[in-house]
Amino acid sequence: MLSMRELSRVYRTDTVETTALDGIDLEIADGEFVAIMGPSGCGKSTLLNVIGMLDSPTSGSYVFDGREVAGLPEAKLADVRKHNIGFIFQSFNLVDELSVRENVELALLYHDVAAAERRRRVEEVMDRVGIAHRAKHRPSQLSGGQQQRVAVARALVGNPKLILADEPTGNLDTQHGEEVMKMLQQLNREGSTIVMVTHSPSHADYAGRVVNMLDGKILIERRRAA
């Protein structure tokens, strides 16, 4: 699916130079479920943003789906991103002014999908995450767990090759957190590749591989025994 070699990301201001990612080597195969862990400020989110092409590396190579994407212009990156990657955020990032259905549909609006097909896929994915009965509600009328289900549905509706989840359970209580994790596990079993940033060791246990980071470097990787 993706491979990174000697990848770095440096932020510069006038006075400070911060190395957020420092010589990352990472391979992720199709169908994997990878959890990225580490203390605050270790570079987890930056790594996820670079994987999701929301941010570009300062140096190094990033091959996604057999294609070198490091150094591609923003418009090209947006194109690759839109067809291949779905995002789930800690704070859900739903649009308050849109209904559940419209929020899910949003991810297809910028794809070239016919209206009828779009409707079908939105209904299907809402069904799949169990939120179809709330289709007409606004995000503010839902519980945190339900909001995250909407966010998952939105990430899935474009049939992405890769799902990126940035602390998807961070704003949820234990029960709802477990629900979301089980859903991600189920998606992985059905074939989705998932990369997730998390603080929670118990949630990291759902993943097949855990990558531990510190100060912009990958410290250890361990595979969970199948």
Partner: protein, 834 residues
């Protein structure tokens, strides 16, 4: 307590400094609105302040004439009235303390250097200055008009003619019928202010012979009266119908008894209200105005101020989320809601006061320009009864409270728990966005309506000046005073000599001219028709039609080859004149009429009128009716403003004419004008030459409409600027508020153009809806305004659509900067942290 206010001030100032765009839009936008309000305030006070300075103004009235058109029933009002009314009014109404008639006479006076120049001389009863107590600088007001040769001058005239104010007893020489005569100065009065309807600066005593010549039926001057203290004008007015019956003689015309009172009524108008009474002015050079214009300007100024207040409300509530935390903290620390309301109202007052300072500066800067433009001496003073300090403070209080109240109530309502716990958007209750949208719609509705009105006013003004007037507009010179006796005797010589001036292609004389203020009418009865009709009665040289380029529709033009085409009357002695009139009535006269006159006389088409005879009451009933034979019918022509209805006209060859009309075709029009003047001066050196280009005189007719159009354009521009300032601020805050949403959209594949389209649509919607509000309002207002014109443009959709499109383009241009900035933002900045 003081500490608390200090804290409020600190927070307010820092909040402003931190959000400079917001502060600029609020303060500058408000300053524009306030400046517009101040200027209009000064203008309205100036316009409503006419002749308030006159001592006893409350008791001084002008007698105005109301004319009811017997054919249409339309009523018009004029300042000029029948001087004959004065005497009987004084006799019949004991409430009247004093009354004076005054006729305006155009005379020739010699300047200091001995050159003859036209002057407007007011001939008045000796009581005039006890009624109109203009301040006297020299002489005794009671005796100033005691003698027949008395002359009372304004300061300006005294300085111009003598270079000093000490001129009592000195003489000014005049020329009448070629003879010199002397007027002796008996008084000097202070120059009248510009906002005075009393347009005189040379006053002499009215001659008894002039009074006798101008009896009932002669509307030639004004009548002023002063009521006794405590007397009621309404009581006098109530007695006027009875007075009409007792005093206006009835005469028999064509077998019917008629009276001047049939078509005319009279009314008393206080001297302070004359300017806005809507009456046709006695003096053409006095600026006209009416209450509707004043009201329109006031409403527009208030709308603009309201728009600035709307910006204030909109921006304050839009950025509420930014102040929510402060409110929450203050509440946690013990502030109650009342204190917070006071704080926010205080801020609003502070902002308004700042804006007022800028507004006063703006008003000071633009006032001289506006005053010159409106031909008024608008002045701004700060202290005293006429000062603007008090109104300005009042305005600050009203605007500050009006603009600040809603934001204060709104901001102070936040619940600390919710605000401190929740993310930002939860602090904003639903519905406030809708209110903002409504206010933006209202703002743009005003802007669009004003733009549409401006477009219509401009196109009508342009149309009125370019529409075919029924004669050839270009290449025409006109000179008045052609009937002064010295030059009138040489009429044919003048015409022949002017024709020789290089560039002159045709020349004629006429009693009508382009942009003339004088109407001459005659009652015409048509055999077989019951009622007589009133038709314009204008002497014109046979070459007049050709000179003007007025087309013949049927029959022939007048000609000196036919004896019956001439209405020449001897002018040497009154006896000869009377004999001439009697023989003319006995003989009959050939005339040319215009198409409208033919129609009003009842002829089906121009050809049907040819050869027909009608009878005109041309010289008064004692001479009998003058039989007129129609020999030609010409196309209608519009000599006056497009506001006035087309006039039915009879042209006859009177041999002497008040105007000289010259057609030229030359690359050097000024040279032609100078050539005509040389001929005039050579033949009649004592008659001042008063000639000018007809199109310049015509443009003067529309100067007021043009000024109004420009003023409207100024207001429309101001409204658009303020609306755009508001939109600019709103776009900034919306962009900020929607940053997260836009980030999400970008993460899921939206490109910059997608985002731009999204934002453009958001801001286009209120502007488009504003059209639906603006169009009917503007259409209604403009239809009403256009109805004041007899000849007018069609009110099509073009100006409305154009105004809407322009507003949309301006709105999109305004928000494009913000939209582009936020559309290009990297989404991770928006999404990483809440």
């Amino acid at each position: 307590m003081l500490k608390m206010w200090g804290n409020y001030l600190t927070v307010a100032t820092r909040a402003l400094m931190r959000h400079k765009v917001y502060a600029f839009i609020n303060i500058f936008g408000l300053a524009l609105g306030l400046a517009a309000c101040l200027l209009i305030f000064l203008y309205v006070r100036y316009e409503t302040g006419y002749d308030r300075w006159l001592p006893d103004a409350g008791r001084v009235y002008q007698v105005q004439t109301l004319y009811t058109d017997p054919e249409t029933g339309a009523r018009t009002r004029q300042e000029a009235t029948e001087g004959a009314a004065a005497e009987s009014l004084a006799k019949e109404f004991p409430q009247i303390e004093s009354i004076a008639r005054a006729d305006s006479d155009r005379v020739v006076l010699l300047d200091r250097d001995g050159a003859a120049a036209n002057a407007e001389l007011l001939l008045a009863d000796p009581t005039l200055f006890s009624i109109l107590q203009v301040p006297f600088l020299r002489g005794d007001r009671g005796r100033a008009l005691a003698e027949a040769d008395s002359l009372v001058l304004s300061r300006r005239q005294a300085m111009r003619r003598f270079g000093t104010l000490d001129v009592l007893g000195r003489t000014v020489t005049g020329i009448r019928s070629g003879e010199k005569y002397a007027l002796r100065v008996t008084g000097v009065f202070e120059d009248l202010p510009r906002n005075s309807q009393l347009g005189f600066d040379l006053v002499s005593r009215i001659r008894e012979s002039d009074k006798a010549d101008c009896g009932w039926g002669c509307i030639n001057g004004v009548v002023y009266l002063k009521l006794r203290p405590g007397a009621s004008a309404a009581a006098v007015e109530a007695g006027l119908p009875g007075w009409e019956k007792r005093n206006i003689p009835r005469t028999t015309v064509d077998g019917k008894t008629v009276s001047e009172g049939d078509a005319f009524d009279w009314t008393l108008v206080n001297v302070r209200d004359v300017h806005l009474s809507g009456a046709e002015p006695m003096w053409d050079d006095r600026p006209e105005n009416d209450r509707r214009t004043i009201a329109t300007f006031s409403i527009v100024a208030l709308l603009i101020l309201a728009m600035a207040c709307v910006n204030f409300v909109n921006l304050s509530t839009a950025r509420a989320s930014q102040r929510a935390r402060e409110v929450a903290l203050r509440k946690v620390l013990g502030a109650d809601r009342r204190q917070l309301i006071v704080q926010f109202l205080g801020e609003s007052l502070l902002l308004t006061a700042l804006a007022m300072l800028i507004a006063v500066a703006l008003a000071e800067l633009t006032l001289p320009w506006l005053a010159a433009f409106l031909q008024s001496d608008l002045r701004m003073t700060y202290w005293g009864a006429g000062g603007i300090v008090l109104p300005a403070l009042l305005l600050v209080a009203v605007v500050g409270l009006a603009g600040g109240l809603y934001p204060a109530l709104y901001l102070s309502r936040f619940q600390p728990g919710a605000v401190l716990r929740a993310n930002r958007s939860a602090a904003e209750p639903t519905g406030s966005g809708r209110l903002r949208n409504l206010l933006v719609i209202a703002q743009f509705a005003v802007s669009i309506a004003l733009m549409a009105c401006t477009a219509v006013v401009y196109s009508q003004t342009h149309y009125a000046q370019t529409v075919d007037p029924g004669y050839q507009r270009q290449g025409l010179i006109q000179a008045t005073g052609f009937n002064r006796s010295v030059i009138a005797r040489q009429t044919d010589t003048v015409l022949a000599e002017v024709a020789k001036v290089p560039g002159v292609t045709a020349v004629a004389g006429a009693n009508i001219r382009v942009a003339s203020g004088q109407t001459l009418n005659v009652r015409v009865s048509v055999p077989g028709r019951g009622d007589s009709v009133t038709i314009g009665w204008y002497g014109a040289h046979p070459d007049f039609l050709e000179t003007m380029g007025i087309r013949l529709l049927a029959g022939r033009a007048l000609s000196r080859r036919f004896a019956n085409d001439s209405a020449a009357l001897p002018i040497d002695t009154p006896q000869a004149g009377e004999a001439g009139m009697r023989s003319l009535v006995a003989r009959g006269l050939n005339v040319v009429v215009n198409a409208l006159a033919a129609k009003q006389m009842g002829f089906a088409d121009p050809a049907a009128a040819i050869g027909k005879q009608v009878k005109a009451n041309a010289f008064g009933s004692e001479y009998g009716l003058l039989p007129l034979t129609i020999v030609g019918v010409v196309q209608d022509s519009r000599f006056r403003s497009a506001r006035e209805p087309l006039e039915p006209m009879i042209f006859y060859d009177s041999a002497y004419f008040s105007n000289l009309v010259v057609r030229y075709d030359s690359p050097d029009p000024r040279g032609v004008l100078a050539g005509v003047e040389r001929v005039w001066k050579r033949l009649a050196p004592d008659v001042p030459f008063a000639g000018d280009f007809a199109d310049a005189q015509l443009a003067q007719l529309y100067a007021q409409d043009e000024a109004r159009g420009t003023t409207f354009a100024g207001f429309a521009l101001l409204a658009v600027v303020i609306a755009c300032l508001g939109l600019f601020g709103l776009a900034a805050f919306t962009a900020e508020r929607r940053t997260k949403e836009i980030g999400i959209r970008k993460v899921f594949g939206a490109r910059v153009p997608d985002i731009l389209r999204l934002l453009a649509w958001q801001f286009s919607k209120p502007v488009m809806i504003a059209n639906l509000v603006a169009w009917p309002l503007a259409w209604w207002a403009m239809r009403d305004w256009l109805n004041g014109f007899d000849s007018r443009v069609d009110l099509g959709p073009a100006p409305f659509v154009a105004a809407g499109a322009l507003a949309l383009a301006i709105a999109l241009g305004t928000i494009s900067g913000h939209a582009l900035r936020v559309a290009r933002l990297n989404p991770i900045h928006a999404l990483r942290y809440e």
